[in-house]
């Protein structure tokens, strides 16, 4: 470069420098891609740690029977007479609201709810068992380090439709206790020294060698959830469950194709405690909802798990400030119409048989929640919809909030007030959806109503 430059020469040299700087990352792109660390690439404010932010006393955790949740045992907790009353109330309300043309309960909305809840392939414990195994093909099974295995399973799952992926290694004294003692259908889940998983009319056998849990989330649409508690809101979960059925089957067949077992959920919410596995895999933290809240999507996910004998590098629990934020934020509890969520600090005292003791949580009154579901004729979802972390995070303000909340609790209440202003026009009318169902039909929505690059954007 000459010692003195005219303005034109200076701009020319600057242009050359710019071109070099732009091309530099492309020079060894392939090498860079292979050097990428396995697992979620998250912002630095999300810290990994050995223990979850919510306390666990593993000595007092026992394997829980799923049929004790209000999902399966509502009648046991409230009595048959109350269930009958609520069933009649639900039928009467749905009938009245359909005929009145109530927002979110019109024929259009009910038809959409039915449509979105269709099309899944169902679930099974061992999968369809159709993929050709390495043995069928006359080759040895796929081998790799646990880190490589974690990488290929993550990539495969993302391509199959999962959002975030983590792994938990089962330990008899700790994480194995997150496997249900009984599945939703009442069948006992036995963990035994067996070569292959087995399913009879009374029990299911999980081979002891299936030591790794693949835990993954499937993203839900914020746009439909904002229409809770109407049928338009309700299809948020039903569509995601159907999508997740396909993902589970694909993963089972993928693992079979590699030469390994894929032990899945035999029905919705089977196999193990989803939020607990999500917490241990570092996909998120426990929350005032008593559900998982993730740094990427907030609570706007469903969480699923699958067991395998393919050794996988475990991912660690995280601290993204979510558990602390929930101590300062009461929004979900205040906006829950039956007031079933905890208003106090987290506790070790359970609220009923639907909770599993041995861990710290914001335990909820699950029967009040379920009763409200009957009265509105859907599975509600208001607490998910109004959570500040349910924001889509394209606007930089929300990413700024996430990073600040991860470091200090000082501004949490301010962030909640701002969230009220920005996203909750009906803050004082909890029964009222935050957005009208009629307006949903006029939206120009992305595929499945979700932004599938949200994780990529968050982490790049």
């Amino acid at each position: 470069m000459p010692e003195s430059l005219t303005r034109r020469e200076f701009m020319k040299e600057l242009g050359k420098l710019g071109a070099v700087a732009s091309l530099a990352p492309m020079v060894n792109l392939e090498e860079q891609a292979s050097d990428k660390a396995v697992g979620l690439q998250r912002p630095s404010f999300i810290k990994t740690q050995d223990e979850p932010t919510s306390g666990v006393d593993w000595a007092n955790v026992n394997r829980y029977a799923e049929f004790n949740t209000t999902r399966r045992s509502f009648t046991k907790y409230v009595g048959e007479e109350e269930v009958n009353r609520l069933t009649e109330l639900r039928a009467a309300n749905l009938d009245q609201w359909l005929k009145e043309g109530k927002d979110g309960y019109t024929l259009l909305d009910l038809a959409m709810q039915s449509g979105a809840g269709s099309g899944g392939v169902g679930r099974s414990f061992i999968g369809p068992q159709k993929a050709k195994t390495p043995e069928d093909l006359g080759v040895p099974k796929w081998e790799g380090t646990p880190e490589e295995a974690a990488m290929v399973v993550t990539t495969a799952l993302r391509h199959m439709g999962a959002a975030t992926v983590g792994f938990v290694e089962l330990d008899t004294n700790t994480t194995e206790k997150l496997i249900y003692s009984h599945d939703p259908d009442g069948l006992e889940l036995r963990i035994e020294d067996a070569e292959q998983p087995e399913e009879t009319e009374e029990y299911r056998v999980i081979p002891k060698k299936a030591r790794w849990a693949v835990v993954y989330t499937v993203q839900m649409s914020e746009e439909t959830m904002a229409r809770c508690p109407t049928p338009i809101g309700s299809m948020t979960t039903s569509l995601t469950y159907r999508r997740s059925e396909n993902i589970q089957q694909r993963l089972q067949e993928f693992l079979r194709g590699l030469g390994y077992m894929g032990i899945g959920e035999s029905s919705t919410n089977a196999l193990g405690i989803a939020p607990a596995f999500g917490v241990m895999a570092g996909l998120g933290e426990l929350s005032r909802l008593n559900r998982l809240i993730t740094p990427e999507y907030g609570p706007m996910v469903r969480v699923f798990k699958l067991l395998t004998d393919l050794p996988l590098a475990p991912t660690k629990p995280i601290d993204a400030g979510i558990w602390d934020f929930c101590h300062d934020c009461l929004k979900c509890a205040e906006m829950c119409p039956p007031k079933n969520l905890s208003f106090g600090d987290a506790t070790w005292e359970v609220r009923g048989g639907w909770n599993n003791p041995g861990h710290e949580a914001f335990f909820e009154n699950s029967t009040a929640c379920r009763s409200y579901w009957y009265s509105v004729g859907t599975n509600c979802g208001i607490c998910f919809a109004v959570c500040p972390f349910s924001s889509k995070n394209l606007a930089s303000f929300n990413r700024f909030r996430n990073s600040v909340a991860a470091k200090t609790r000082m501004f949490n209440k301010t962030f909640v007030s701002l969230d009220d202003l920005l996203y909750s026009p009906y803050r004082d009318q909890p029964d009222q959806p935050q957005k009208s169902a009629a307006s949903w039909w006029k939206q120009n929505l992305p595929d499945y109503g979700i932004d599938t690059v949200q994780t990529v954007r968050e982490t790049s």
């Binding site: 746009e223 606007a395 303000f397 202003l421 996203y423 026009p425």
Partner: protein
């Protein structure tokens, strides 16, 4: 495209401010203007992203909450420079 246009406009404005003889900003006017422009850029990002997010209400409020202070800061810098230029 939005950011390309904003970049071109800002670049032209800075070039004009640096080269023109009519207006000379003091150091504190540069600081005020810079802070104002940064806030305005953040406000525009939040507004446009909120539109993409299908959250126009949030976009409007964020534009107001972040953009208004930015506009005031930039305006203060401009008014100070204008008054000084008028006096001279």
């Amino acid at each position: 495209m939005l950011w390309l246009i904003i970049g071109l406009v800002l670049g032209a404005a800075v070039y004009w401010l640096v080269t023109t003889e009519k207006v000379k900003l003091t150091w504190y006017e540069w600081v005020l203007a810079l802070l104002g422009v940064i806030l305005l850029l953040i406000a525009i990002q939040n507004y446009s992203a909120s539109q993409v997010e299908l959250e126009p209400r949030a976009g409007g409020f964020l534009l107001l909450l972040i953009g208004l202070p930015g506009l005031i800061l930039a305006a203060v810098a401009g008014v100070l420079a204008f008054l000084r230029a008028k006096k001279a």
